[in-house]
Symmetry: C2
DNA sequence: GCACTTGTGTCGACTACTCGACAGCACCCC
DNA sequence: GGGGTGCTGTCGAGTAGTCGACACAAGTGC
């Protein structure tokens, strides 16, 4: 448990923080604050200086690549298996993406400068940062292939499963419109796929809410990319998903 | 110029090596060897331990994500703006991808352990590695979006331009079959697009060879991703492309 | 000069997804 | 409880790209 900025305490679910040896965690814990992130909040836009690093506990942050025409598509999600802005622990960095809170929840936050100080003193932290960056890169390159080769249904399922791995519970709050943006497809296509998955009994949905009913069933029809990325995280990061 | 392993000398075109201050370069230059890489050679497969790091001078290495069905699609290219296996300077790493020589040419090579030694002693080298990894990540996430949103013609042009930036000359040796794999599309689609570009006078091609006739014309019909990635490299790495 | 291999052109049926439009329903607010 | 807003369902025309098949041409080796 860690102290919250509003006086309450909350469970420490972020895998990176949990994985740090206690003496190393002690270097950053005095600077960590606990925050509730509301859905839809923009944490960074491309070009923004990364001055705060977020360690999600039960929220999901989407890294969105922006196009000139205003389209924004998810390049990678960040949840309890990782952190947002971790590259700035090494050196000051600007964000390459728009980071938005896709699933609301709690995250621990630290200033990039405090994290950098700890980074200079903790080999364990440096190792963790390297591994995380490698896993995130692995996620990105798998998605490059996935978006070129796999159909919308498989990617839809992959997205749901990835999200599910990072939150508590089987209920995801999102509209079809939002998911269409994430996947870079038309909303009508999402409607069609969602209807088909519901007909198969894999999910149930209503206005702005999707319930996962049959996780194994989703895994059966998603593409190999889901498992490949997950294996990548599990290999490089000390602890499995929740 | 650097000495080659066969007694000849060759120009040092790799931007990372050129950017290193001379005292830092001195740390690695005794361990660098010069090699000619033939087209199609597999330098790494997924899971291989990265024991050698390659700094291309005028060749291009494709990082290919492999799928279970044997499909291999390019996630990112590496040329004179970067290096293959640079993450292993920080700590031992396994390759996530298949790395193949797409355009033949020369590269300098160093063992991962020698590079790591230099890395521990050279802040300039550490900075360069970080910047390179960041730029490569930027490339990957742009490609995630590009593959989801842009048509084959735009991606075809983007690929040609990216390749052109990393070699000397306007002639690229590749078959349509090979390019179809790179882009993750059918060969017949590549034939159609190539024919259309040739009809517009932008390229000329014959069996296994593509000549770029009108680079500006290609830039006009490629997607914004080409320029975005190039800007990313130029911002993070010290020197512009050749 | 001939056979062989390998790369390219083309055709046609098919599918996945786009894009615009509009109707209807669910939920929220007052 | 009624009105409005925003989410979802659906339709239809259109397009981009798939997939298999086959003919042909250009180089390669002998």
């Amino acid at each position: 448990m860690i102290d919250s900025n509003d006086g309450t305490a909350a469970p420490l679910k972020n895998r990176l923080l949990v994985a740090l040896p206690s003496e190393d965690f002690g270097l950053i814990s005095p600077h960590l604050t606990h925050h509730e992130l509301e859905k839809g909040r923009h944490l960074y836009d491309p070009g923004d200086q990364i001055d705060l690093v977020y360690f999600p506990h039960d929220c999901v942050i989407s890294l969105m690549t922006l196009m000139e025409n205003g389209a924004a598509i998810e390049s990678a999600p960040v949840g309890r298996e990782g952190a947002l802005g971790l590259m700035s622990a090494v050196a000051p960095r600007q964000s390459l993406v728009r980071a938005i809170v896709q699933a609301p929840g709690f995250a621990s936050r630290i200033s990039a400068s405090a994290l950098h100080d700890a980074w200079t003193r903790s080999p364990a932290l440096r190792d963790l940062v390297d591994r995380h960056n490698e896993a995130l890169f692995g996620h990105a390159i798998q998605s490059v292939a996935c978006n070129a080769l796999h159909g919308v249904e498989a990617r839809f399922c992959r997205w749901l499963l990835s999200c599910r791995d990072r939150i508590d519970g089987d209920t995801i709050n999102l509209t079809q419109e939002f998911l269409a943006d994430m996947l870079g497809v038309q909303r009508t296509t999402v409607t069609a796929v969602a209807g088909s998955l519901q007909a198969k009994g894999l999910i149930r949905y209503r206005r702005g809410v999707v319930d996962i009913l049959d996780r194994a069933g989703l895994e059966a029809i998603t593409c190999e990319c889901y498992a490949a990325v997950r294996r990548g995280y599990e290999r490089l990061l000390p602890l499995p998903f929740g």
